[in-house]
């Protein structure tokens, strides 16, 4: 089924309005547990879609997402926390001037968090993206761990392992899902454009992409820096959702989670990243029962730390074995929805005869 652009545009507007209404309804009526979970889902969606741009569409292998998120989280929090709050938090080692007095509104602080992460991506990219091979994976892994090390050790800037507590809660469903929607639309439009075709060409065959006039370095850098920016935004939303942050949140396992999501959802499949990203965040919360001790009929089961990741690893293996292209073969689009609908109604008519 072919839809013309004007009709599609109208459908898009209706969908966005519906989305805003849904988010508003959730924000107003849901209890704190559910809203928190829905916020975490949005953050996972942003992180998964953005790592999919780097690892899925342009065929590179970055392990830097946790590091970029840490940068976004700390850079933004340092900018929007009030001087008084900073003084309370930094009770062991005082915070250095001028960070001690700076305070800007949270929205520009979040954006700056994303930009600082993008800058870090740019600097890492300069040496790594010029050469072929797996250097990027090794360097981004190292980067991610070094960022955590730096956060732990530069106490007069980051407050070290103590992190921040009592961070004001600016993140709500409007912001988090607003950013998620923006990320999805931005990256979807990018990959549907000539630049996206160039990125897919690079991941398909670097040699012929370059022979067709595509500057490999420039385009890999584009995907990498944009991915880092959105990761920084995802990170920036975190402290002001959880109201606290510390360096342990950004261990490399966080990156592995996002990689697991894009493998299960399909490399280069945005629909998959969104759905599996949300499902992943929810199941992390639900599977928490596996790690807490409880009693099942008279049988007492001890909580085993790490059980959640074990279950998730098994799920990944199953997906790789049985559906190595990911769970979602098909991107959701209006055409797809309409053809599904018409097939469905045809079946119904058939039955009535």
């Amino acid at each position: 089924m072919k839809l013309d652009n004007r009709k599609k545009q109208r459908l898009n507007i209706i969908a966005v309005v519906g989305f805003i209404l849904l988010v508003s309804w959730a924000q107003i009526t849901w209890n704190p547990f559910f809203t928190r979970l829905a916020n975490v889902c949005a953050i996972y969606v942003i992180a998964a879609v953005s790592i999919n741009l780097i690892n899925g569409y342009s065929g590179q292998f970055s392990l830097g997402h946790a590091g970029f998120m840490a940068i976004g989280a700390y850079a933004s929090a340092l900018l929007y926390m009030s001087p008084e709050l900073k003084e309370v938090n930094y009770f062991i080692t005082p915070i250095i001037w001028p960070l001690s007095v700076i305070q800007i509104p949270f929205f520009p602080a979040w954006i700056i968090g994303g930009l600082v992460a993008a800058l870090a991506g740019f600097i890492i990219g300069i040496p790594c993206l010029r050469v072929r091979g797996d250097y990027l994976a090794i360097v981004t892994y190292g980067f991610s761990e070094i960022i955590r090390f730096l956060i732990c050790n530069f106490q007069s800037i980051t407050n070290g392992p103590l992190g921040f507590k009592g961070v004001p809660q600016y993140t709500n469903l409007w912001w988090s899902w607003g950013f998620a929607l923006f990320t999805v639309i931005f990256i979807k439009r990018l990959i549907d454009s000539s630049y996206g075709r160039a990125l897919r060409a690079i991941s398909g065959d670097e040699v012929s992409a370059e022979a067709m006039g595509i500057n490999l370095f420039k385009h890999k850098m584009l995907a990498f820096v944009l991915g880092a920016f959105f990761a920084g935004i995802a990170g920036a939303l975190l402290p002001s959702l959880l109201m606290a942050i510390d360096p342990y949140y950004f261990q490399i396992i966080l990156t592995y989670q996002f990689i697991a999501i894009i493998i299960m959802g399909g490399l280069g499949n945005i629909t998959g990243s969104v759905i599996v990203g949300s499902a992943f965040a929810i199941s992390l919360e639900l599977l928490r029962v596996l790690e807490t001790p409880h009693v099942l009929f008279t049988l007492s089961i001890p909580g085993i730390p790490g059980m959640r990741m074990l279950v998730i690893s098994i799920l990944i293996l199953a997906v790789i074995l049985f559906r190595h292209r990911g769970l979602f073969g098909q991107e959701i689009s209006w055409e797809w929805l309409f053809s599904l609908f018409s097939r469905f109604s045809q079946k119904l008519r058939f039955r009535h005869k």
């Binding site: 439009r189 990018l190 454009s193 075709r197 398909g204 040699v207 012929s208 992409a209 022979a211 067709m212």
Partner: protein, 257 residues
């Protein structure tokens, strides 16, 4: 002045000399064949022209510019495009998207324009869609534009590669065994297609091919390579009867009706 001047290039891989002291000048509009037995160094010459790797010795000039040390993307932008002996399409992309990749080097809009659909980008994208369709219809693949490139039959994949190369609007087109894997009927179609695009796009073509019918049928001039050295050069008629060529390459005398 010639369009392409290859000034005595040599390529060594470790101890192996793949191409030795190779010289060639291509005038604008020529269609020249490059033949020789397996491993003679033909593909290596293409790889040096398009910048995949630089020659060990010697220089390459295109349009009077020294391109010896340039990267492939830069050389493509100057107007050199190619196909590959071992087909290098983007198998997971659609047929039409493969062709559209060829237009990217001339896209002027930034990625901001592409993401936010600035009017200039929309204009460029519309042009790309229309032009890609007309290229595909010229080569007879328009009906398959939505299919995945990796699923096409061999002959179609070869033609799609030519189509993608044409999308970059080259002045010089390098074709590496375009008839390989094609059946006789497809080969005849290919020959007329090459001559058609040559006229239509004002192309200069350098052609590697093992199928003598193609080489003898459409080339004005032929170079014969053996162990990295040019052993003969001339018109198809002359090459066929050159004893050195017969010995090195054809083995026994072959006649062409």
């Amino acid at each position: 002045m010639s369009l392409l001047k290859i000034d005595h290039i040599t390529k060594q891989f470790g101890g192996l000399t793949a191409v030795s002291d190779f010289y060639l000048e291509l005038e604008k509009g020529e269609l020249v064949g490059l033949i020789g037995p397996n491993g003679a160094g033909k593909t290596t010459i293409f790889n040096m022209i398009n910048g995949t790797y630089p020659p060990t010795k010697g220089k390459i000039y295109f349009d009077n510019k020294d391109i010896t040390q340039n990267k492939p993307d830069k050389i493509a932008a100057l107007g050199v495009s190619r196909t590959f002996q071992n087909i290098r399409l983007y198998p997971e992309s659609s047929v039409v998207d493969n062709v559209k990749v060829g237009y990217h080097l001339r896209v002027k809009s930034s990625f901001w324009g592409a993401v936010f659909h600035f009017p200039n980008y929309v204009k460029e994208e519309n042009y790309i869609s229309q032009d890609a369709d007309s290229l595909l219809s010229a080569i007879g693949l328009l009906k398959k534009k939505g299919e995945l490139a990796g699923g096409l039959p061999y002959g179609d994949q070869r033609r799609l590669e030519i189509c993608r190369a044409l999308a970059t609007r080259p002045k010089l087109l390098l074709l590496d065994e375009p008839a390989a894997g094609m059946n006789p009927r497809e080969t005849v179609e290919l020959m007329s297609f090459i001559q058609k695009i040559r006229r239509q796009f004002d192309l200069t073509i350098l052609l590697i091919e093992h199928d003598m019918k193609v080489i003898m049928g459409i080339c004005e001039r032929i170079l014969v390579l053996d162990y990295g050295k040019t052993i003969a050069e001339g018109t198809p008629g002359k090459i066929q009867h050159n004893p050195k060529v017969i010995e090195a390459y054809l083995g026994t005398e072959v006649s062409y009706a």
